[in-house]
């Protein structure tokens, strides 16, 4: 595949879809329904604004969304109360498919959304975005509504405030540039064209979501890209520039944990695809160091990357789908 061609044809800017009325007409013509899922864990500071804005702009004013749901991992703050007060449907992840062994992590919420939500398209948006705007939704569902062959749309953020040269570097955060893109370059060069593979914002067709497994931790975004690529190739992807995203910055140590989780998922996929030979089970303990009274000591974190199977293999889901 010619990466530059793919970039040219499958990379959008949110302003390409700002005619929301036109999107709605097309959506209705195709009989599509769209659900928004916001996975949360202690997000009381930003959740109110996200819900009120999407509800008012994209349900009341323009009926682009059919459902706004907050799926929570067990917040100890007022996240769910605030979300409900502004009109979102709120769920505790542990109460969806309660008979399954409980797991805790963002990927769990995303996976359970497939069961709980009704839409033909599910839009996932993180709850910690400070500068939330309707473009976060219409920018990502636009390519899915306009191009039937596109199945998975990923967000990226690129907004240079000032740049003197005509060429400027563009890319993702620290983990993307130091870990993910080097790994993609080695094993899946086509996927390097996804500018921000780890962004938490994407819109996906149900038929795709229900057919791929979900790691419940840090590896969920990476595994999605790998699995969808293996199954459908690059033509299934598109990406949209949503300009700027203002959110909490993570410490380098936190990114270390994230990289550890991603690496586990990546290596497991390499084995599954037969690219690497099967190796003994990898350890799940990640080590970092700290100094206390001039003495160095290790700090250990257990980061297992457990995985949920494709939703279309879960009996309750099959039953619910048949019932439809």
């Amino acid at each position: 595949m010619n990466i530059n061609n793919w970039l040219k044809n499958n990379t959008y800017h949110h302003s390409n879809f700002e005619d929301i009325k036109e999107l709605i007409e097309e959506k209705e013509k195709q009989g599509l329904t769209i659900s928004l899922c916001i996975p949360t864990l202690n997000e009381e500071k930003t959740i109110g604004k996200e819900v009120v804005m999407f509800k008012s702009e994209l349900m009341n004013r323009y009926p682009l969304l059919d459902e706004i749901a907050v799926i929570d991992s067990g917040s100890e703050d007022k996240t769910l109360e605030i979300a409900a007060s502004f009109g979102a449907d709120t769920y505790l992840a542990s109460e969806i498919l309660p008979d399954l062994e409980p797991m805790r992590g963002k990927g769990e919420n995303l996976w359970k959304a497939i069961y709980q939500l009704k839409g033909d398209i599910i839009v996932y948006i993180d709850a910690d975005i400070k500068n939330i705007h309707p473009r976060f939704v219409y920018g990502m569902v636009g390519p899915l509504i306009k191009r039937p062959e596109v199945k998975y749309v990923k967000a990226f953020y690129d907004r240079p405030l000032a740049f003197s040269d005509s060429i400027r570097p563009s890319g993702g955060g620290r983990v993307t540039e130091i870990l993910t893109r080097p790994l993609f370059s080695l094993f899946f060069p086509d996927l390097t064209a996804i500018i921000q593979p780890l962004s938490g914002e994407y819109a996906v067709r149900r038929e795709v979501l229900e057919s791929i497994p979900f790691p419940i931790g840090y590896g969920v975004e990476t595994s999605h890209l790998l699995d969808v690529y293996q199954k459908y190739g690059m033509s299934a992807f598109a990406q949209t520039d949503l300009d700027q995203r203002v959110h909490r910055n993570q410490t380098t140590r936190a990114l270390g944990k994230m990289s550890f989780g991603i690496l586990q998922t990546f290596l497991n996929r390499l084995v599954q695809y037969g690219i690497l030979q099967k190796f003994d089970e990898l350890p799940t303990v990640f080590r970092q160091f700290q100094v206390k009274d001039e003495i160095f000591e290790t700090v250990e974190f257990n980061i297992p990357e457990a995985e949920r199977p494709p939703m279309n293999t879960i009996p309750e889901y099959k039953k619910r789908k048949r019932g439809k």
């Binding site: 009381e44 604004k49 009120v52 008012s56 009341n60 004013r61 502004f86 500068n131 705007h133 203002v246």
Partner: protein, 390 residues
């Protein structure tokens, strides 16, 4: 109270309910408008947002004029008179300030949410609230986001409109986010000025008492404060901001002082202007530096009387909403109406705290009363209950 006006007062709960039902739209407009930076003279992006909303709600003559005012008209049935509803577009915050707004169940927090994000959000939402209530007016309702209002802007946008709009305006209503209950129907005399102290490059620092701009500015301030101010007419000085110098150990070359004189008497304002000018000249001759007095803005005192029907009806409306009216003079947009002898009022829309600070906060719950007040007031003006010669 006239029976028909009582009819308007009786509908206040219905107005509150309609606003409550459109709360999400109001809050979204509030967030989106407040997150667009709009320092005075750079209001274009907010202007565009407001015009998009006006256009979408099918207002007529949606346009931006040469001063950057955003205008839209809800046409009246008879169309022979006009009511102007104004909220200023600009804020005191520069563009590089983080304009992120936070929403909690009962409050909204962020720079400029009260001054004047909520005023603008009310303008942007008013057409659909009126549509929901099925309210139509006889008069045209002109909705205006006014530009260049604050500081050096000196209400330039609204003044421009009032100079160039050729049709009669029955009344003006100025919207301010905070504080619910506020009724300003008179303007006090005001002079806004800046004193700039600049030491010339070729200045002789060996000269006796060459101490730089800050010490001399200090002396200037002492002289300003020595000016006797009368108790009647009430007159006051506000020294609002001071700046000068660049480091710890260099004699400062420049200093500047911003201040405002307020007085019930126009003559007193003029006397003080003459006095400050002569003080600046005196300092120039004493120090050899260039001391200039710049007049940034001046407003005439005036307005309507306490007993004017517009004011009386406004108080009745607030009392029916269980809100205590708080009467205070204003130096804001109101004076552009006063200059044209048009009855006008500034009203507040909700309660808030920390006005003018980055974490300015306004309460959500009282907004419905604030906007119900506006709708009732517009109806009362439209039906002629606020005119002196009905």
């Amino acid at each position: 109270m006239n029976t028909s006006c009582q009819e308007i007062l009786d509908r206040l709960p219905e107005y509150e309910k309609a606003v409550e039902e459109l709360k999400e739209t109001l809050l979204t407009n509030l967030i989106m408008l407040s997150e667009i930076p709009a320092p005075t003279f750079e209001e274009q992006d907010r202007n565009r947002f407001l015009l998009n909303r006006f256009t979408e709600y099918n207002l007529q003559n949606c346009s931006s004029d040469e001063k950057g005012n955003a205008l839209g008209i809800i046409p009246g049935k008879s169309r022979d008179s006009n009511i102007l509803v104004v909220a200023h577009l600009d804020t005191i915050y520069p563009s590089n300030v983080d304009h992120t707004i936070t929403v909690e169940p009962d409050k909204v927090i962020g720079p400029g949410v009260g001054d004047n994000g909520l005023g603008l959000a009310t303008l942007a939402t008013l057409p659909i609230i009126l549509e929901k209530l099925g309210i139509e007016f006889e008069s045209n309702l002109i909705l205006m986001g006014s530009s260049r209002s604050l500081g050096n802007g000196d209400i330039e946008g609204l003044r421009f409109f009032m100079e160039n709009f050729k049709n009669p305006v029955t009344a003006g209503i100025c919207l301010e986010g905070v504080k619910l209950g506020r009724l300003s129907y008179s303007s006090i005399g005001m002079l806004r000025g800046e004193i700039k102290y600049e030491v010339p490059e070729e200045y002789d620092w060996t000269r006796f008492s060459s101490v730089g701009a800050i010490v001399n500015m200090n002396e200037m301030i002492n002289k300003l404060l020595e000016i006797p101010l009368p108790l009647k007419p009430k007159t006051s000085f506000i020294l609002g901001s001071i700046s000068g110098g660049t480091s710890y150990n260099k004699n400062p070359m420049k200093a500047s002082l911003r201040f405002e004189v307020r007085s019930e008497s126009e003559e007193m304002v003029e006397n003080l202007a003459v006095r400050i000018q002569s003080l600046a000249e005196e300092m120039t001759s004493m120090t050899g530096a260039n001391v200039r007095f710049l007049e940034i803005a001046r407003r005439k005192p005036g307005g309507t009387q306490f007993s004017h029907p517009l004011n009386k009806v406004s108080r009745d409306i607030l009392e029916n909403l269980d809100v205590t009216p708080r009467l205070s003079p204003s130096t804001s947009e109101l004076s552009a109406f006063i200059d044209k002898d048009i009855p006008a009022l500034t009203i507040g829309l909700t309660d808030g705290e920390r006005l003018g600070e980055i974490d300015e906060m306004i309460n959500i719950e009282p907004m419905k009363k604030g906007i119900a007040q506006l709708i009732a007031l517009l109806q009362a003006v439209d039906k002629g209950y606020c005119s002196e010669y009905k």
